[in-house]
Symmetry: D2
Subunit: 300 residues, 4 copies
């Protein structure tokens, strides 16, 4: 089967490499020449545009950095929509606004092209191993058709619901994880101020109502969980910039739905501030280091 | 052993009753006549003041609503400090500012009286069953001396650290649980807006980085967890007013320590708003109902 | 001169009526039949689509509720872009995302059509009187060409800068005004809790660093400023739903620019909550009534 | 008249010097030996404790850094209360929690000692010139009795209401000013991102609903207002640490009153973060520099 792959950057390239390894013929495009050269080095043929990719493949996979990139690649000049044949399936694996997934799906449906959203979690290490978690939104038959391709990329493929639902599930999960990381950081900064031992406190909370996956596996305080990013000088893991982006998508979705939200914008903004002050490419649990107490004593 | 018990309200009365059942002689005081009458009905003798309670008992237990009550009962006119003999032990089981625990402990230490803080979790049902969780701060020998009394009241007794540490552990745990409840509510309101099934989303998140104890046991969306408060019309459980109080104590502690915090004050304030708008005595997960989307369409 | 007018709702209709009064021939379109009928009643001819309006006029004015409406009306099927002749000028008076203004301007520029953004403030009363304040973004010559038309609608026309700058100025102004209304409300609720007289406090603050236009002219506490909305049971004025929308646009712009913001999302969300709880069509200073203290006393 | 002065630090010393210049005999105390030596250099006699100061003077003035200092100096061991004669007047000029003012006043009233709270604004320059603004809370006759002393220290003396009202007025004013500084900073960062000229935007907003004293006199963007702190590299002016403290007092007062507040805690926390990251002793409008956009581009 010929697969088209658009967006061959940091995450896309190892994913494309897995498709090649599993025997798929891949035709690739990226707007950045170096990224496209990397795809060719990984065994793909290069095409000149998204439309060209769509013309030369039976199924299109996209892995792009933002909602506007997805709209442009599918619906813009020389986009997928111009080249894709009726009846084909497109799989967008980018993390974007679910409303954009639906808008793109609706535009493609006008010419009987099918679309599923399938954002991933696990980062570059699991993209490389082919063990990403993939949350999928789309028609059940389309998801089944996509499954052999997705199986080459990930280990845990979950069909959440209609188009856009994969994105919704990812954003909702990350909303909670991002807020939890900030909450855990705040709690342990307060405890530290009172001289309470972080190890003992972790034990207490782990058996109580404050228990979270984030504290168990990604403890923001260094030295308590062996494989946490915090114990490796906050090497990601999942970067602050990406968590700020995902929280931003969640908050923006809430805005459009007129849902009031309060802790997610607060978490988003402190991660954005942490990014402004140099922590954007550290793991998002480095927000703990950002929330340091003020040393100075105020006069009068 | 003669035990003095001060603060025999909603929580204190069933605790006192358990001490009586276990064979302790109890002398009680409460500033509210009805509460004191309830203590007598439960088998205690009444005393005329905290000082009187202290004079007539070998160990004093207090269970009071706020930091200022604790300061007044211990250090105010006719307070414990006036009646207590050198060498005695006091156990404060109120949920209060850890700085106040330390201040009271220091004031009592001037006359060689010992103090441990031992706040509880579990609410009235577990106070009645004698199965409270108790987090204790104090000198190790004092905590051992308190243990037989605490064992009559709770099932899970944890020594966290020095005086104040019990309070710190409770506030830090509740900070995370309170913030998590708001975050989970926000996530599920967004998912609802997109028409994503709450049961499926719960399954997805429960296996991912967004997993929290709150979602597993106290899911804010009704009908997903059988014994959750949300499935019983948000009957508490743990009241919004109490969670707002505990988050307030945590945020105030952060202020005094000059620790920057962002999601805990945001969660505190939305619970305070929910309380202002009639949800103060509902379970704190009722914040989900408060975060309802805006129906109205705005004109131009 | 033939003017096309698209979007003849609550705000658009009185604006259109002023153009008719000043002698312009107007051809109108609105997707809502009643709104279009209102335009005809005010003296306009009806057209069948935005494209049709563009074909039949020398200059197009649009007054629409949101960014997506503006994109659809200009660039969608049967949109302005399909009907407008090269060289013409379009004036968008909607309050929308400045990035969308720029995107629409760029799309029109491809066929040599010019575009200025010209959002207004003053609400229905000043739309009716023709005394709106109008902030304009665009090329200086285009703004001069628009001026006679704008002069029929408003009293104070300010050229801020390049395309999108009118929107930016409006959003930035409303960001500050919206946040100020919440801050003033919080301050006066605290003062009220301490029993401090609101009139005296207003006098003190009006001469000090806390002085704001909002307190002087739109005091959220009833009875202090004669013509304030608060003194008329919060009849707008400027509705909570509209202020929540504008703050949302500002916060979303910040997200796209990677600018950290903290008080504007907090203000946005409390207005969104106030809207959810029935205040959406009251003046936005009614947030003061929403921030009422919690009456209930918490147990234990 | 013999005046006692307790708290002769950065602010207290120039105030004391003005009293000496105006002919008052001053007896001073400060817990810090250097501060007390400074008072002696300025013309005061030193006393050994607050009680000693009270014994040797007809009227006591206090200028202390926090609520707990005020409680200790008045009510603690060797405090004012131990030395002051019945019928005397005490003037506390510290910026503290209004509840503490009332508690101290009530404790002193037990021995017929009178108390007014009289916090100041204007900083060291106006303390030196004797032109502070002073907001006073207390009984009208007590305020009149205090007036000759206050007149030696300040130019604008306002009687706000009962004891504590001076503090309430100061905190409420600073709440609005602090929030406004953050809001103005956010607005101008957004405008900057869009390339809108800050001078033009300032002109637009100064004539519209977003106008604030802060923008007019203390514009956070450098170069727009000649005498603003921002135009002097954010030399204070009013330090970030002090504004964070005052917002903290306001938020804590709201907590005790059960008033929901949202923008004031958000502003407090961003100032606290700015302080943690090195801006504590810069003018509070330096929050503008803290809210810089994130430069880094996120991958995928």
């Amino acid at each position: 089967m010929n697969i088209g792959f658009i967006g061959t950057g940091t995450m896309g390239r190892p994913m494309l490499a897995n498709l090649v390894k599993k025997g798929f013929a891949v035709v690739a495009y990226d707007v950045v020449p170096d990224a496209l050269a990397g795809a060719v080095a990984a065994g793909a043929r290069a095409a000149a545009s998204p439309a060209e990719v769509a013309r030369q493949s039976e199924l299109v996979v996209t892995m792009l950095p933002s909602s506007s990139h997805v709209e442009a690649v599918y619906l813009g000049p020389a986009g997928v929509k111009e080249g894709v044949a009726a009846g084909r399936l497109c799989i967008d694996m980018s993390t974007i606004d679910p409303s954009v997934s639906r808008r793109v799906a609706a535009a493609l449906a006008q010419q009987r092209v099918r679309f599923v959203d399938a954002p991933v979690s696990g980062g570059v290490p699991r993209a490389t191993d082919g063990t990403l978690a993939i949350m999928v939104g789309g028609d059940a038959r389309d998801v089944e058709e996509a499954r052999p391709v997705l199986a080459a990329l990930g280990a845990n493929i979950i069909h959440v619901g209609a188009v856009g639902s994969g994105e919704v599930a990812k954003l909702c999960n990350n909303l909670i994880a991002g807020v939890a990381a900030v909450a855990v950081s705040e709690a342990f900064r307060i405890a530290e101020g009172f001289g309470v031992d972080a190890k003992v406190l972790t034990d207490v909370i782990s058996k109580s109502s404050g228990h979270t996956w984030v504290m168990e596996h990604m403890h923001p305080v260094p030295g308590l969980v062996a494989r946490s990013a915090s114990s490796q000088e906050y090497a990601p893991g999942f970067m602050t910039d990406l968590m700020a982006k995902d929280l931003g998508l969640a908050v923006n979705a809430a805005r459009e739905l007129r849902v009031p939200v309060v802790v997610s914008p607060a978490a988003q903004q402190v991660l954005r501030l942490a990014s402004s002050h140099g922590l954007g490419r550290k793991d998002f649990t480095a927000v703990y280091t950002f929330l340091k107490p003020s040393d100075e004593r105020s006069p009068v």
